[in-house]
Structure formats: structure tokens, C-alpha cells
Symmetry: C2
Subunit: 452 residues, 2 copies
């Protein structure tokens, strides 16, 4: 590292003469405001670090959350800190970057200004929107009150507390039917999030029932994965879909296909067609939509509330405004589909948007976004994962191993990698004998109304 620094000291003056416009006086540098420190935002930040722009990054949290492992926080495999990387740890390395922990409440495209909750409004020359996504309840306003969701660390902790306290409450529940309800866990939506969560829940629950809750009846425990379509993981090839379904069933997960949820109220799920089901814990993983921030732009939004962008990732009417990742709507995936709301798209769009901002600053032509599809994968508990990448379809132990390596690789920071690897090794060897801490903030399973 010392050597790298000395090389830098030699190189930097040379670089300045080669690219003199890179070193505009500080006061005259254009200001780029980046909203969000997710995969999109962080890649924008990396692309703008040490360039001739002043960058202000705004996020309501002070960390970058590694959401692909969020379900493991909900199932007590990982502590929240293991998947959170401090935003300032990235940002303090570079002098042209600043971080504000604040919540963006509005965007004025005409005044080129961002309104926030805590601080003063922030003006920009260029704006990059990378605020990610939120759960999609398809207009049903009661769903968020009666279901858990899994979109950030606080929600994951809340779900973990709900899961674990359901067992504690079942111990105290004299009524057989109510006990069965407390021990029924429903996940709505069998995409990668729903599938990974269902597998992890099955692995959490079996051993603790045996070991810690001898008075509960194991046969009353149900984990139900509800899917509106005909199969779990329907974006995967049919062979992998079938493998995933068989594996989940073997782990004790019931899969309820072709079932659309119409309503969830106090632990009573009503399906389209009128069938019902009782479960104290209902997790909504049936869809995502762009962050509500998109609605502030006064622009006609595309499917899932996403912001339509040009191939260069900026707005037609406001070329100084870029949108990346889950918030952006752009067609071109597999021919003419919209790019999916996944980490890889956000990462690559973040890089491209940073380059295009610099191109505008340098009055050079912007480049359109090209996606390099690295494939997709999902774990199915211990020793198994489905992987569909580069035309190859894998499952079983080799898929699981690839999943492990890829997730450790993309996790930020040595400390987080060590924390995650240690926790995984410990959980693997002990079959999850970790601490299953229930906090006092949310003792009630959210979807539950046992005593009503």
C-alpha cells in the first residue's frame, strides 16, 4: 500500500499535465448529487472519485446494504452489521466526495435542487437517481400493515423477531388451533427472495423445534411458499425450476402454485377465488417497484413506477439527470424486455452513468448502456443452489459453492467478509446453534391477531 501511494505521488503530476481539464479549480467544478448508496449509487461514486467534479452522496442510511444476503439476517444466520458497509468508509477516501445522511423528500428539476428532511436543499449541476426499489403491493394499502417485508435491515430484524417470538408465543398458547396458526409461516412470492427465505426458514426452524421447544408439535409447523404463477423461480430454466421445487419440498416447504393473494388481514390470507388460510407470519415478497422518489419527478412513469430513460441513462427533457438500477426503465434486455431489477444491472448502469456525466462535463459524446449478463442464482438451503449463467445450468453442491464464492466476492470490506464467512462456517458446523435474540421493540408478529 505504501508503494502504491508513492507511485501515485509520481503519477499524479504527470496525469495533470496529460489531462489538464481534470483539475478545474475546486469552486468551479460542477456538482454531481447522487441519491442512494446501493449497488447503483456506489458504482457511480467509484466512477466519479478523483475526477473533476464535486460529488455529494445522499442516503437515508449511513451504510451500503448488501441485500442479496438480507434474508439471512431475517433468519438469524447473520447479524445486521455483517451485511452493512459504512458509506463513509467508501467516501472518505476521496477528497471530491461528501456524504449526507438525509432523506430526500423532493426533486425540483427546473431549479436543479434536491429537498431533504434534515439539511438545507442541495443544488446540483448533474443528478443521479439511484434510490432503488420498494415492495410492490399493487395498490393494496392494507398489505404493508399486515405482512412483513424484506427490503432493508430494519425490516429483516423485525421479521426475525416475529419469527422467533411466534415460537415463544406458541409455547404459551393453550388453544390448539391458535397454536397451529402461530406455527404457520407464509411467504408470498416464489422469486429468488421468496425461495431463499423459505429454504433458510426451514433450516432455522427444524433444529430449534427439536432442541428448544420440546412441548411443541413439529407436525404443526408449516412453511408455505405461495406463487401466483405455475412454478417457483419462473425466470429460471424449467429444469432448475423443477429442481428447486423438489428440493424445497424435501426441506418441508409446501409450495402453493397458481395462487394469487387477494387480501391479508390479521393473519387471515384470502386467495383469489375465495380460499383462505391462517398464518401468524406472512411475508410479502411478491414484487418490487421503483422507489417512491420517482413520483416526485412529474414524469410519466413506466411499469412498476420506473423512470423511462434514454439508452444513455439520462432523461430526454433533462439530460443532466441520470437514473440507474431498479429506478430506471430501459428496454434492451434479451431483445426488447426491460432490464430486470437486479444488482448486476444497477452496478453496470452506475458505472455507465458516471462515465456519461464525465462525458457531459468534458463535452464529449455519451455512450449508450450495454448489459453484460452474468446470469442469476438462488440458494436452496445447505449444500444446494441453482445457477443459470453463461448458458450453463447448475444445481446441487457445485451451484452452492459458486453461490458462496460470488457472494463473498461481491460483499464489500474485509471485515464484513470475515464476519460472514465465520458465521457461515459456525452455522454450517453447528446446524445453526447461534443466538436467536428477540428484541423488545417488536414482540408481536405483525400479521397476527391470535387473541381477537
Amino acid at each position: 500500500l505504501l508503494k502504491l501511494d508513492s507511485l501515485k505521488k509520481i503519477w499524479e503530476p504527470v496525469a495533470q499535465t496529460l489531462e489538464p481539464d481534470k483539475k478545474l479549480p475546486v469552486g468551479k467544478r460542477p456538482r454531481v448529487v447522487v441519491i442512494g448508496t446501493g449497488f447503483g449509487g456506489l458504482n457511480v461514486v467509484h466512477g466519479l472519485a478523483e475526477q473533476e467534479v464535486e460529488v455529494i452522496v445522499i442516503d437515508r442510511n449511513n451504510y451500503h446494504g448488501f441485500w442479496p444476503l438480507l434474508y439471512q439476517v431475517a433468519t438469524a444466520e447473520l447479524v445486521p452489521d455483517a451485511i452493512a458497509f459504512p458509506a463513509r468508509e467508501v467516501i472518505h477516501k476521496y477528497k471530491n466526495l461528501k456524504f449526507y445522511m438525509d432523506e430526500v423528500t423532493g426533486i425540483d428539476l427546473e431549479k436543479k435542487q434536491v429537498q431533504v428532511t434534515e439539511g438545507e436543499p442541495v443544488s446540483y449541476d448533474y443528478l443521479i437517481l439511484a434510490a432503488g426499489s420498494a415492495n410492490n403491493y399493487f395498490g393494496n394499502k392494507d398489505l404493508p400493515k399486515h405482512t412483513y417485508s424484506l427490503k432493508d435491515i430494519d425490516q429483516a430484524v423485525e421479521l426475525r423477531q416475529g419469527l422467533l417470538s411466534a415460537f415463544e408465543r406458541a409455547v404459551l398458547e393453550p388453544d390448539e388451533k391458535q397454536r397451529a396458526k402461530l406455527l404457520t409461516f407464509v411467504i408470498v412470492g416464489a422469486g429468488p427472495t421468496g425461495v431463499e427465505l423459505a429454504g433458510a426458514m426451514a433450516e432455522l426452524i427444524r433444529p430449534i423445534i427439536h432442541k428448544d421447544y420440546p412441548t411443541l408439535n413439529e407436525n404443526q409447523v408449516r412453511i408455505v411458499l405461495v406463487e401466483a404463477h405455475s412454478s417457483a423461480l419462473d425466470q429460471f430454466p424449467p429444469k432448475l425450476q423443477q429442481h428447486a421445487q423438489k428440493r424445497l419440498q424435501k426441506m418441508g416447504v409446501e409450495i402453493r402454485q397458481n395462487s394469487k393473494v387477494a387480501k391479508v388481514e390479521n393473519g387471515l390470507i384470502t386467495f383469489d377465488g375465495g380460499a383462505t388460510m391462517e398464518a401468524a407470519t406472512v411475508v410479502w415478497a411478491a414484487g418490487v417497484r421503483a422507489s417512491e422518489l420517482a413520483e416526485n419527478l412529474g414524469i410519466k412513469l413506466a411499469h412498476s413506477g420506473r423512470v423511462p430513460v434514454q439508452p444513455t441513462l439520462n432523461l430526454k427533457e433533462h439530460p443532466e439527470v441520470f437514473v440507474v438500477g431498479d429506478m430506471a426503465y430501459l428496454e434492451g434486455y434479451k431483445g426488447h424486455e426491460a432490464y430486470p431489477m437486479v444488482a448486476q444491472v444497477a452496478i453496470q448502469q452506475g458505472r455507465q452513468a458516471a462515465q456519461n456525466v464525465l462525458a457531459q462535463v468534458r463535452q464529449q459524446p455519451l455512450q449508450p448502456f450495454h448489459y453484460f449478463d452474468k446470469g442469476t442464482m438462488a440458494t436452496l438451503g445447505r449444500n444446494d443452489a441453482v445457477v443459470d449463467a453463461f448458458g450453463v445450468q447448475l444445481n446441487g453442491l457445485i451451484g452452492w459453492f459458486i453461490w458462496l464464492v460470488v457472494h463473498i466476492y461481491f460483499l464489500l470490506g474485509i471485515r464484513n467478509r470475515v464476519l460472514v464467512m465465520l458465521a457461515w462456517a459456525y452455522n454450517y458446523l453447528t446446524y445453526r446453534q447461534g443466538v436467536r435474540l428477540i428484541g423488545r421493540q417488536h414482540p408481536e408478529p405483525r400479521a397476527e391477531a391470535v387473541n381477537q
Copy 2:
């Protein structure tokens, strides 16, 4: 372990013939209800494990919290899981023990029944109260609303979030005076908790100011330890008091002696005599009192709301009811003082109470409580602690090393010990470059009213 088990199989039938009354038929065994899984409760449980009683342990949390390290959760040194040990992990080992996670709301000494929030009332033949302590606000009802406290994990996490977000808010605060208020941290009470917290806060804050908040002025940061008496740690010998004060001052902690806090409101502290001080973060560590449960007994309580017990640790009018630890009031410490509210008293009283319950069951005479004083200690940040034990007074590196060993030794569970040792080693080597995660639940410093 396998060998131990086979030995047990040989020994147990022998033991039964030797002590035939130990194996009463299950239905006829007297029931002991233990309230609390702190140091007192857990030691009762160990004493009653595999004896001829049925034991029901009730706690509102599902874990035993190792409170001596709680301040390290508040200062982002340890994750909450590291100091929490699952109650069921202790209890599931023995067949005569059961655990209920529930909140006790009342005790009927005549009916011999405990009322709880979730489950049915629980009847007992013997009751052991070990519900610990709460913050003592000396009747001031506004204090808990305007100050942080440090009595359980949720409070520690809340304080951590308040501490860290104070810096994030200071970055956004244009007004100099308000920024100074945000960067002032006051701890009321310079007993071991206040002193350890002040030292850990100083060590947390100095490096992050330098590294992560270049725009903030380090000289605006104040950590103030307020003490009503003439010195910090006034239960320690004068030599150690002086050492502790010097060391804290060297770390940048201001000590305000002979200052009694009269009022705290929206970050404005008013002292007796009228002096005032502004601080966004005020932590109340000025005293403890017995758990409010004591008030349910209909008994005249002693100092700090503690329950007066006989030397055998039970109530005179209800000899089947025992009280141990912080909740119990018994004189005999250093002659005629009340036993202090510390872990060692709770541990030893827990053991004695278990023995006395069994003595009652076996119709043998009860034994009075005898305290073996193992001394007291407090850390003063990195490489320093004061230790006063067995007539020896130590400080500096050797005191710190003893502190480390003792705390690792008393921590329950191999997993927790490993977690804590790894975190300490990491923090020690990197000067606290860990994750400083702020959750979204409590973004506002509690005592703060910057925008009013």
C-alpha cells in the same frame, strides 16, 4: 463428553437409592417459579436443575444479557448478539426446567400465583424473584423521556444510534451553536457504568471524527461526565479514584464534580443551583432501583425500592417466596450495609436461594446468606482498568488484563466468548474501524431539540 454421559448412566441409579426422595413422581413435585434470567435467576436455575422440583423460568426476553459489557454495545464495539445468551440454551439441557417468554404483571402472594401478559396465570409452590433493576430517576418523570439509559440491549442500541446520528446531523447543521450542542455528550453519574461508557465513547469518537467527518471541528466535541459527589468511582479507594479521573481527563473526558442534575429537557440540562448546559445526547447513569415488580408484593419496600428479606433470602410472612440480587434488600455487607446491586451478589444469592428452596422441600433447615467479596473493577478505555479486590489495588495494563480475563470467563457460551474476543482483537488492532450501523427506528437523538 461421551465418557461423562456413560459415567452418569452408572451413577444415576446409585444416586437414586442413596437419595430416594430426589425422585418424586413428576406430578407430585413442587413447582418453583423463577422470575428473571439475569445473574441471580440463572444461578437459581443451575441450583435446581435435575433436582426433585418442577421449575418454570419466566423472562420478558428470550436471553440472558451480560450487562457488564452492555456499554460496549452502546459504543459500537460489540454487536448485541455477543452479550446475549439464549435462555433456552441453558434450560433445554434439563428435563425439570421450562421456559416461558412472558412479562410478569402481578404476583398474588395469597393465591400463590403469577400473572403474565401472554399466557395463563402460573401457580407456584415456591417463588424466586430475580427480576433485577431499573434506572432510578428519583421520582422525576420527565427524565426517562429526555435521556438515554443503559439497562438493556434495546436501550443500548438506541443510544448507539443516537450517538452515531448526532455526527451525521452535525454535518448537516449550518448553525454553529446547534452543531456544538449536537457534538456534546453528557453522561450523568460517574459510577462504574458512567465511567466505562465515558471512556468507550471517547475512544469511539476521536478516530471517527478524524477519519469520517473531516468537515466537523474536533474541538467542538465534548464528553462530559457529571457526578453529584466529589469524585468519579467514589466506591473505589481514593488512589484508584484519582487514577481514573486523571486517565479519563487525558482521554478528553471533562469531569464535572459536585454537580447534581435537577432537570433535563430537550437537551437543556439544569443543575441544582441553576447552572445550565446544552447537549443533544444525555445518558442517565446516576442510579438504579429494584425492578417495579417489587411494588406488586404489597410489602413495605426498603431503600431503592428493594424487597427486605431475611438472612435466608425469603420473606418473613411468606417463607416460600425468595428474592435475590438487585431486588433483595439485606444488610450485612462490610458490617451493616446493604449488599450492593452487583453481579456477584446476585450470583451468590441465586445459589443460596436454590439451596434453601431444596432445603424447604426436603424439610431441612435453611442456611443464611454469606457473601464472598471478590472485589470490583472498571475499565478506562484501552490498556487501563482499576481493580480493587482481595485488599489489592491495581490499575494500568495489569488491571486491564485482569478485567479482560474476568469478563471473558463470566460470559456464557463458547460462541459469545469467541465473538467478543474476535471483536476486541479487531477493535484493538484497527482502533475501532468496525461498522457503525444506524438503524432507521430511532434516527433522532432522544434528548435533542435542535430545530426548536
